[in-house]
């Protein structure tokens, strides 16, 4: 449909890959995200950590066009996502958490589907699908229905879908959950190569150790607020990320513990 020509938005050189400005989102009575500001520099490997229910998934959903913010702006390379969704969505790859896939398709069909929806031509989609399935180790299972995949395989095929259109920004919600250590190492390598090639990766995770080793930037989120953000070294300030995280978020219970749990006492 030839819509009216509204100033075709072009990426702004030097703008951050992803810029979240004053994001708010409320579900009923509960405020899930309460004014989040975050600058994710182009070419960074950015970790998003926070306790359960901190608003990570909500934030990432709003940053990728899956959830409409109540207030606030999302800029991807300087272009407003919610004002120009069609243009911006070509430049981001998304792996959401807690959603289904079109799991009655085979792995190869699903990646092909994602590629064709992005408007790629058939030869490109075919060769990229093959490359991606090989890279995530699903060659043998390309013709198996996704419904019969294990949880880890499902994460991997979803990652392949997120990569098929060679996005400039990759937003992954809990990409390593249920993935075995070998596959996780393979995925980390793919992501590192992607960042080395100029791409930007945003991942959310519970695993502090993983974020500390893998990412160069990190933001700590709790109760819908950003508690700390910057390079990993800035945020952890000489200690381990896990210690710093517990400090920031609080909630560690210290003291005598539960006396009757000591089975040796009787």
């Amino acid at each position: 449909m030839p819509g009216p020509v509204t100033s075709a938005p072009a990426p702004v050189a030097g703008a951050p890959a992803l810029s979240l400005q004053g994001l708010w989102r409320r579900f009923g009575q509960k405020v899930a995200v309460a004014g989040i500001d975050l600058e994710i520099p182009a070419g960074s490997f950015y970790g998003l950590v926070g306790p359960n229910g901190a608003g990570k998934t909500t934030t990432l959903s709003m940053a990728t066009g899956l959830l409409r913010p109540d207030a606030g702006t999302v800029l991807v390379h300087g272009v407003d996502l919610w004002a120009h969704p069609t243009e911006v969505k070509r430049t981001i790859g998304v792996l959401p958490d807690g959603v289904r896939l079109f799991d009655r398709l085979t792995g190869a069909q699903l990646v092909t589907y994602a590629g064709l929806l992005q408007g790629l031509d058939r030869p490109t989609v075919t060769s990229r699908t093959r490359d991606l399935l090989a890279a995530v180790g699903l060659e043998q299972d390309a013709d198996t229905l996704v419904v019969d995949y294990s949880a880890g395989m499902t994460k991997k095929v979803a990652l392949a879908c997120a990569l098929v259109h060679a996005p400039r920004v990759l937003v992954l919600d809990e990409p390593f959950e249920a993935v075995d250590p070998v596959s996780a190492a393979n995925i980390r390598e793919i992501l590192h190569q992607y960042v080395a090639g100029g791409g930007t990766v945003v991942v959310s995770s519970h695993v502090m150790d993983l974020v500390q080793r893998m990412c160069d930037h990190v933001a700590v989120i709790a109760e819908g607020h950003v508690l700390a953000a910057g390079t990993v070294d800035e945020v952890r300030a000489g200690r381990s990320l896990e210690e710093r995280f517990v400090d920031l978020v609080g909630g560690r219970i210290t003291g005598e513990g539960i006396a009757w749990l000591r089975t040796s006492s009787d």
């Binding site: 959830l67 409409r68 069609t86 959603v99 064709l116």
Partner: protein
Amino acid sequence: MVAHLVRLKLTLLRNGLRRSAWQVVGLVVAALYGLTLLGLAGAGAVGLGFVDVQLRGDVLVVVGSLLVLGWWVVPLVAFGVDATLDPRRFVTFGVPRRDLLVGLTIAGLIGIPGVVTTLSALATPLAWWREPLAALVALVGAVLAVLACTLGARATTTVLAPVIGRRRVREVVAALAILPFIFLGPILSTVAEGASGVGLESVARVLSWTPLGAPWALAPAVAAGDWAGLLLRLVVALATLVVALRAWSWALDRTLTEPVSAGGDSRARGLGWFGRLPATPTGAVAARAATYWLRDPRYAIAVAIVPVLPVLLAISAPDGAIVLVAGPAAAFTVGWSISADVAYDGTAYWTHLVSPLRGVADRWGRVLVAGSLGLVLTLVVVFGTVWYADRWDALPALLGASVGLLLTSLGGASVVSAAVVYPVQQPGENPFGTKQGASAAAFTSQLVGFTAIGARGAPTAVLALLAVVRDSAALGWAAMGVGLVLGTVVLVAGVRLGGSMLDRRGPDLLQKMRAFA
């Protein structure tokens, strides 16, 4: 412990109601329905008290047996047993087996079907108000019958769970389950004809010795003074309970130690429709939809009535033109089948949402597949019924009405599915599970959609009807022209409107569907 389980069930029910207003509406509707049934049962029992003792016993045994059979079989094919208290959730608590079984049995009666069944059964002594001893025995029989209902349902569902749990089996059963409902009319009329003769008495006599009818046959035996019969039937009824309890307990042990597996891998060579349809976003949506029409039983079930309808119409009115209605009906059924398509996608819809796909392309992709299938089915049914009724003069009118209705309903469905999502069975989910909270939202959107399509389709329908009734060729051709033009306009407008609604409201639809899960 038993009290705990019952209280847990009540708490779950109350929390479910607090979560969504639709569930309250659903419960109220179900309660009204149940009260009506209960009123009928009570009035029926009192009424039976006035008829001959022999007939009274026979009716109670046959109706009661159907009730027990319903409890045993319906959960397997239609609604599923209430899984809110899944025994597997209690594995880690070390609940004594006896308490668990008793608690689950009683908890299974909490809910509209359980309450209605219990109260209806307890109303049967009213039929014996003139024979106090028989009434007393009927009360015992009623309790035994209710226990047979709930224990039997638990036994059949738990014993057959490993078979039903396999995906392929579930899909086949789900597809077959609809057949009895389609043929319910003919079956009932045949049964009624048979029963009105000598049938009822002999049927009741046989049933009274089976686990289904034995508890209901206790009071008639007392009334007839058949004490040996009473004793033997009491043995049958009690043995039924013991066997059901044993079977349930045994199957429970098995499910607790050997979890149900979903069944073997299924594979498909190559890209299928993705290699055949054009490599555009619209083509991709169409390829995905076509694949799902073939692999997802929910779509097949939606149109399962189409091949059956003309046969039913032909049987019910062998020498009328009524059978010609099958063509437009088939067109509407297939066209309307995509009216919950986004809800059928479920949260997998995010794949569309993260891509630069325009809503219009999404709509056209889905319409192309349903429309192609609908066109083929409609043409086959129209030509078939016209040939059967030998009304070739009505062909233009019928083609106009049918194809017009197909286009109109596709357009309407394109808007409705972009406007409303409600909980539906997800692919791979137990098709026997119930979806709470779906009914009212689904009902409202369907009603609005029907009305809108009715209004848009009325001009064509009236012209076609006049053409068929008055044997007018000119009106027939007019119906064809109006149907095609009006249908095309509605389709294009519906796709445009639905597409722009998706562009605006897509994220909100996804958010709603995430909240269902």
